[in-house]
Symmetry: C2
Subunit: 522 residues, 2 copies
């Protein structure tokens, strides 16, 4: 018993942080380190407990953390290199923020005493971090690093999930005096307001065109069971928000549609709504403004009653509402028959049918299908239970990294990434991480060799694109060869031009350990 | 004569901006537009005069603008999509800022009245822009857009070259009332201070260990001729800064070396310097801090006399200094003999020899060779005259885009991009633009399948990397196949493992119209 705690070797700041993160229950670190993070890397080497997964380019790293957070419902750690490394990862941190994914985002930086000399990599890291973070702190000395790490974990875990950025100057990493910090209690969300629940029940009893709009955690399995009770009693309309971080779909979940992306469709679909009851959602708003089109896609005079904000207990809110309405204690959700495998030339509806026909139970769909995906949802409720993820912040290039991180969190669950080609080009480096970690990701590149969504958006400006515009909207000349690109990063791949070929390749991929990519010509 | 100016159709904001940019003399727009930029794209369609070049991922777009600005010495326009699109391009804007490249950086954004509703893509675009820009403005209404565009051009052209970001809400683009603005006068840099020149001459006359340190525009051809006069008279030491946006090298230019990147080498090389005379440069500072290593790599007591700041007339400063010293009116710069083509297994010195042996006159070297490039410079002064570009802000992934933009500005000059594999993965999408525009770029991927620089940096932490660290520093498992990656983007490619094979492939590539990629195993 001669070794007392006082004789332990002193920790440096980086070691205190790694021990704090592990002690706080974190499991995975997605990393793209540089020189200023070498002491942190050395600490990861010495202290086992965090699985380290590299990404080649930081938007892959942050997108993986987003996908992980959505599935694990707990933060991963990221490790980024200085302001420019953070800058490269901002777009997928933006998506993560909008998805309310918890992330402990660690950014190494210049030593505090060196930064004033403006070395090449010096940048206003705090300012860059503030654009995407709910919480930002710079640990200016080693003794603070453990405490700041525990506070970052607490911030990330605060509902509905936050991006917490901890900036770590290199001398705070390497100096001695590091102190490990214990897990801090997380303040829970506000309780559900029962007055609001009674008002919502009154509205459902007295108005005829009421729409229950679900978003955020109201799209998980359990809250949907409560909505089924409400529908059984009131027969009201139910929809999901247009864009959702995670929507649990398939057998036993509600066969609801999303509010459509195109403004004219959304406005038409919502034109008769007298009142919205919002659970984790808000009154439908346009993705973009267009000349002469209103910002809100719901009628101006439609009322809104919000029974739960994102992060509040949506299941509780909806259960209380069902109880208040005197709904039956349980209501079965009727599933439709699973469709047959479609054949022939792909179109959006038929590809949705293919997904519904073949996805395995527990699949994760990391959907960045953009234009082609418009009709995928119509049949996905007939599939086995699965999780559907979307690009929440509009920053394209979310799909391949999010699929990768979701596969890490999914621990064996098959991830399917229906992926627009133009968007895939933003973060194709994620394929390398999929190969390296042998992750069960099936990527289907929906290859139309153009930014189809922008050709549609151009048309809304009032004209067909001329040669200058088409030069910026067309991805051909030369065509991308996705089989070669995947092979170049160590991912096996094949082309398909029919739905039956695509389906057969997908089914083969489901029996493999690692990733596979299909280039589907559409 | 019935059509008077008053009967012209009214311009929208976007049209007024395109006409302003063209009227201000800009030639090229590197673009990755989205929905909020469709009116700008439509204006580019209708109003000829800007060559539009697409990039698939915004860091390619901004890196191309950097390369263009360094060679053309005039700004290109970029077109980016909202805060997240800007975020993706920040790292190469950071490099551009440190290279002092002029760029007119146009970022479309949400309509002013729509942004407050927090649509998915809404972000603090101004804050993101401020991290990399010398000048930021949001055009809040169509009538201001032309004027703001002309002011952005003026800001970009202000010496020593600035990043000017103009944020363009979509309603300022599509609303009528646009007004074209004429070119604004640019204020010149401060004149050279003749008192300082006299002091510098005294120092050169009286001190024995004086080093003339050249940076920024002092590394162009003409100032070097003046330095040759000073050397002829005083036999003083001359070096270039460690990292330079553009260094004109080869026959007729000074055979100088750069201050080395590794701190111990730099400190040793500078240990005897009594005084620095800085032209476009500053006292050598570490790229990073390390425990126990000083931030300044020059002796604390070394004096500094700055005869020209970046953007001031370095040639004039050096001419005045040479005159003050009574130097001869001209001094020939002796060139060394051009080396033979090297053979065998590549190493850094021999690859530098290869470049010196075969580069064509007027070549542009976009150097992102990182570790392997340490000795390239030793022989490049024996090559024909050429321009050497480096990654100025430490944000890796500068090479392929910078080479692409430099080729656009070079109008037929051969660009050679010696490129580290790990860094190439950040912006490999630039290859697609090279293929599309048939640009004369020869990329040599220096394929060591690891982040060699970080393995070196890890060693300086005091240990060999363990398995966790190596997992983050090693790029193998699976190895990247750069021939497949290039082919996948439409660029022809081949592998080489010896210098003679690499040299033969490079020479073949010089006879082609378009791009070529060589994967050199090192």
């Amino acid at each position: 018993m001669s070794s007392s705690s006082s004789s332990k070797p002193e920790l440096n700041g980086a070691e205190s942080l790694v021990q704090t993160l592990i002690g706080n229950g974190l499991k995975v670190c997605f990393a793209n380190p540089g020189t200023s993070e070498m002491h942190f890397v050395a600490a990861l080497d010495r202290i086992p407990g965090l699985r380290c997964i590299p990404g080649m380019q930081e938007n892959v790293v942050t997108g993986m953390a987003d996908g992980y957070g959505r599935i694990a419902r707990d933060p991963a750690v990221t490790l980024l290199h200085c302001g420019p490394g953070l800058a490269n990862g901002l777009a997928n941190l933006h998506n993560a923020k909008k998805a309310r994914s918890p992330i402990v985002n660690i950014v190494g930086d210049q030593a505090t005493y060196h930064a004033p000399f403006s070395p090449p990599l010096a940048m206003d890291t705090v300012k860059a971090a503030e654009t995407v973070s709910h919480w930002v702190r710079t640990s200016s000395k080693a003794a603070d690093v453990g405490r700041d790490g525990a506070e970052a974990v607490r911030a990330a875990r605060t509902e509905p999930g936050q991006v917490a950025t901890l900036i770590l100057p290199s001398n705070a990493s390497w100096d001695g005096g590091g102190t490990v910090a214990a897990r801090l209690p997380v303040e829970g969300p506000a309780p559900i307001d029962t007055d609001t629940i009674r008002k919502a029940a009154d509205i459902l009893r007295t108005k005829s065109n009421v729409l229950i709009l679900l978003g955020d955690n109201a799209l998980r399995h359990e809250p949907q069971q409560q909505v089924a009770r409400i529908q059984e009693k009131t027969n009201c309309r139910v929809m999901a928000e247009s864009i959702n971080g995670l929507h649990q779909r398939g057998a036993g979940r509600l066969p609801i549609l999303r509010v459509p992306y195109p403004a004219p469709l959304a406005i038409d679909m919502l034109k008769d709504v007298e009142h919205f009851i919002c659970a984790g959602s808000r009154k439908p708003t346009g993705f973009f403004a267009y000349p002469g089109v209103p910002s809100f896609h719901a009628p101006d005079n439609a009322g809104v009653t919000t029974i739960s904000l994102p992060g509040q207990d949506a299941e509780e809110a909806l259960r209380l509402l069902a109880d208040e309405l005197g709904a039956p204690a349980q209501a079965a959700i009727k599933g439709g028959p699973r469709p047959d495998m479609p054949k022939g030339i792909p179109n959006s509806e038929a590809f949705g049918q293919l997904l519904a026909a073949i996805m395995p139970e527990g699949a994760i769909i990391a959907d960045e299908s953009i234009t082609f995906g418009g009709l995928f949802y119509q049949q996905s409720h007939t599939a086995p239970p699965h999780d559907w993820l979307m690009v929440t912040g509009g920053a394209i290039g979310y799909g391949p990294p999010c699929a990768t991180g979701a596969a890490v969190a999914g621990a064996g669950r098959r991830v399917i990434n229906p992926q627009a080609d133009g968007s895939a080009m933003y973060t194709l480096q994620a394929l390398w991480t999929q190969a390296r970690e042998r992750l069960p990701v099936t990527t289907v590149i929906l290859s139309n060799r153009k930014y189809q969504i922008l050709i549609g958006e151009y048309a809304s400006v009032g004209a067909n694109p001329g040669p200058t515009a088409m030069n910026m909207l067309d991805l051909g000349n030369p065509d991308l060869d996705w089989v070669k690109l995947a092979n170049g990063m160590g991912v096996e791949a094949a082309k398909a031009s029919t739905l039956e070929d695509c389906g057969a390749l997908m089914q083969q991929s489901f029996r493999r350990d690692g990733p596979f990519l299909i280039e589907l010509e559409i």
